[in-house]
């Protein structure tokens, strides 16, 4: 079985966040780069799948040189192959452009049975790239997966559970499939030191736009079909006011205030 994983490097949003408000982007310098936490679940799911069904795992990412780190982390966890998709033309890509690059990479890898992704990234938080990749490739889109029940590579079938509001949806779909996973689907394992050391010495192969056969006009800032118009930090919430006294008096005060604020008449 051939298993692919899409990983993204994101800034650590648990640390301090600074915005470049005019540009509408995050100020990434000075922020620690980490593997997108949801992609860690995807990677673990790929490792579990390989353990259950035998096969090879290929991890890909689209990003600048620093993004090699996420691929090294994947190598330290014993994935078989990694590739970094990088090209100046990719800079400024929106979700669809990113998805088309990843799709091209997956096509280039060839014979992929299942692709695992995290459900969203913690910087953009759009959560659509997995579905877009599936749409571009014409593969089964399986998003918000909370459990993979079975993968039958021979008969090209996959059965998953999706977490939906109020319950679980069980879906049987055709392979190849793009599966985006939610937090808690598994417990990501940690790399041991031997893995880290071996990965540190590995040279990470790159694919540029030509290698992938991607039209440079359709990706990057040039090919973006969406644009960030504005980023604003919500104003800090003011301190609340605590009302003390008899219940009836409080009720009257609250009603008066709501009327003043024109919330009720």
């Amino acid at each position: 079985m051939k298993i692919a994983v899409c990983i993204k490097q994101v800034p650590d949003t648990e640390a301090e966040i600074k915005w470049d408000t005019p540009k509408g982007t995050l100020k990434r310098d000075g922020m620690n780069p980490i593997t997108n936490p949801f992609d860690e679940f995807a990677l673990e799911e790929a490792l579990l799948t390989r353990e259950n069904y035998d096969g090879d795992i290929v991890a890909i990412t689209m990003g600048p040189e620093k993004a090699n780190d996420v691929l090294r982390s994947a190598l330290a966890l014993t994935v078989n192959e990694v590739h970094r998709c990088t090209d100046d033309a990719f800079s400024g890509s929106d979700t669809y452009a990113t998805a088309s690059v990843l799709a091209a990479a997956l096509k280039k890898i060839g014979d992929v049975d299942v692709v695992f992704c995290g459900k969203q990234s913690t910087d953009g938080n759009t959560g659509v790239v997995a579905a877009e990749v599936a749409a571009i490739l014409g593969w089964s889109p399986l998003t918000y997966v909370s459990k993979v029940r079975q993968i039958d590579a021979a008969n090209k079938k996959i059965v998953v559970e999706r977490a939906i509001e109020g319950g679980i949806e069980v879906i049987e779909a055709k392979l190849p499939a793009v599966v985006s996973v939610i937090k808690g689907i598994n417990e990501p394992r940690l790399p041991n030191l031997m893995g880290i050391k071996k990965a540190a010495k590995t040279v990470i192969p790159q694919w540029n736009a030509d290698d992938l056969g991607v039209d440079k006009g359709k990706v990057g800032a040039a090919g973006a079909s969406t644009k960030v118009v504005e980023i604003a930090v919500p104003p800090p919430r003011g301190a609340g006011e605590i009302l003390k006294g008899e219940l009836e008096d409080i009720a009257n005060i609250v009603t008066d205030r709501l009327i003043d604020m024109k919330v009720i008449k």
């Binding site: 640390a15 301090e16 620690n32 394992r189 940690l190 790399p191 041991n192 030191l193």
Partner: protein, 703 residues
Amino acid sequence: MDFENQLFWTRQEVYIAKIFLPIIIGFLLLSIGLLTAFALSFWWRHYRLWHLGKDENRFDQVATRVKTVLAVMFAHVRFWKELYPGALHFLIFWGILFIFLGKIVRLFSYPVGLTNPPQNIFKYASFISEIGGLLAIMGGGMAVYRRYIIKPSRLETKSERTLIFVWGFVLLMTGYVIKGYRIAAVGVSIPSNWLSWAPVSYMVSHLILILPSEPLNELLVWHRALIHTIPAFLLFAYVFITRNPLQHFFLSPINVFFRSLKLKGILAPIPNFEEAETFGVREISAYTWKQLLDLEACTNCGRCQDVCPAHLSQKPLSPRRMTQNLKDHLRREGPKLLSTPPDQRQPEAIMEKTVGEDELWACTACMACEEACPVCIEQISRNIDLRRNLVLVETKYSSDIRLTLKNLEKSNNPWGMARGLRTDWAKDLGVNPVRNSTGALNPATEQQGIISNGVKIFSEVTDPEILFWVGCCGSFDARNQKVATSMVKILQASGIRFGILGNEEGCCGDPARRIGNEYLYQTTAEANIGIMKRYGVKKILTLCPHCFHILKNEYPQLGGDFQVIHHTEFLMELIASGRLKLTKPINKAITYHDSCYLGRANQIFEAPRKILNSIPGLKLVEMERHRQRSFCCGAGGGRMWMEEHIGTRINQMRTDQAIATEAELIGTACPYCLTMLFDGIKEKGKSETMAAYDLSELVDQSM
């Protein structure tokens, strides 16, 4: 003496010279031969087991080592911390030593002196062995009383030990009996005046009945020696052939000889880190030979267990138990490994079967066990070696450890707070980092300029005297930020030219190293060393004993040689030199908590006490467990960053000990201890009457 008896003994002398003497000599030679064989076999078997372990050089500074062995063996210096057990062991040791000395000399007297009047040396030997016997009986009696009647919790008594006691007493008694018999049978004229030289036997002789039948007496005389020498021979053989507690006679002094000559609590780096295929200890032969010797030298005395904060707070850890379990593991697995060729060995893992995970992680690395152990066993590094394997190879650890390691990796501090926030504590003290973490000039500073009276970055200080290493706690933890602030005020008041590393300061690496992530520690430490060397740092002042210990004692392993001083030493110097005047009184009773890494590890006990005595109005009250015997606050060994799920909370136990002194203040010199005791006071509901302060805060108040 009457003629009959004289004849009797003259006949005996004939027998002795022609028949008995050769038999005796033959027997002696045979016994010596056999015992030598047993002894060699003993050493060979043990050497092979130890040889399973890795190399380690413990053959340096032989003179110091010999001195320690002599001091421990003859003066029993490591035993006197507890008077009764120390005294009884002292008596037993000297008793047996005297007996041996006397007996060996006496053995020579058989071939030499029986037919001649005994020379004086034999008389002295006889006296010494008699006294020795008395000492041994006294000590033995004290031991029996303690072990079988008082029954302290730390003593485990198996039937083998009772056998040894009985055997020992039989030997002591028969020794006196045979001599007493001889005196009784012979009277006082042969060999000489026994009263002076064999007082006990002389007294025993009055209790012995001499049979009227002469032949029977003769038989008894000839065979009297056997009731003593055969059990003695069997005991010696037993010591060498089986595994028994008496082997500590040899193993313990050897262990003391090979002890660590470094300060306690210094961990060794992983040898050959670049090429190593595995890290830490998974199975028994991954330990060094000294660590294996440690296991066998343990006498199961339990002193370590009695002082271990984890054990006393009902965690599943007892250092003694772990050593004994590992010893059993070695003795079980060792022979298996030795009989298999190295490439076919499948050694059993230590973790889970021999040492449990909760047991291993409960250790706070406080070194109380190492302090208490009379035979210098090194428990801490043995534990950390197991942790290294769990962390670096098995990647098996709880989620709070995982989070801490991740935070350290990402943000260079255990809380995972942004690096840029590290200098926030000093904002109001005037720190304006000149450069941000990528090296670009901070635009705010460009506009405002540097506030010259505040806290500056080291590289911006002209002719700095010292680098103030604030540490992660002083930088990020609210309670400890106040300590850092006090320290700054003291530095400013004393006119010291100091700087901080600011956002370039990274975690010293202690949490990572004690948790077992040697790789993360090395990366962090090497980065810190590089930064400090780049800025030409020579002298470092630390707030925290863990930072102090690692910067001073462990960074040199990675090439970082700096002069490191802890803030208590520094404050004491300032006070002693008069640069700092303490005038405002604090009229309260205070008890001082000795931190493990300041006290036991680095032997700094006086400096903090001198500081407290210099503050007018303070009255120092010591807790029962203080100085070397201080009780850990519970935060060491990386445990500050782990949840405590089992048993009583260690910090509450220590707080109880402080409350028992009825002091109003607890003085600390460590941010971990301060946090733990501060929390402990709150948890015990004593916040109205008690408060915990760092010594620098008290000095600041008194300035």
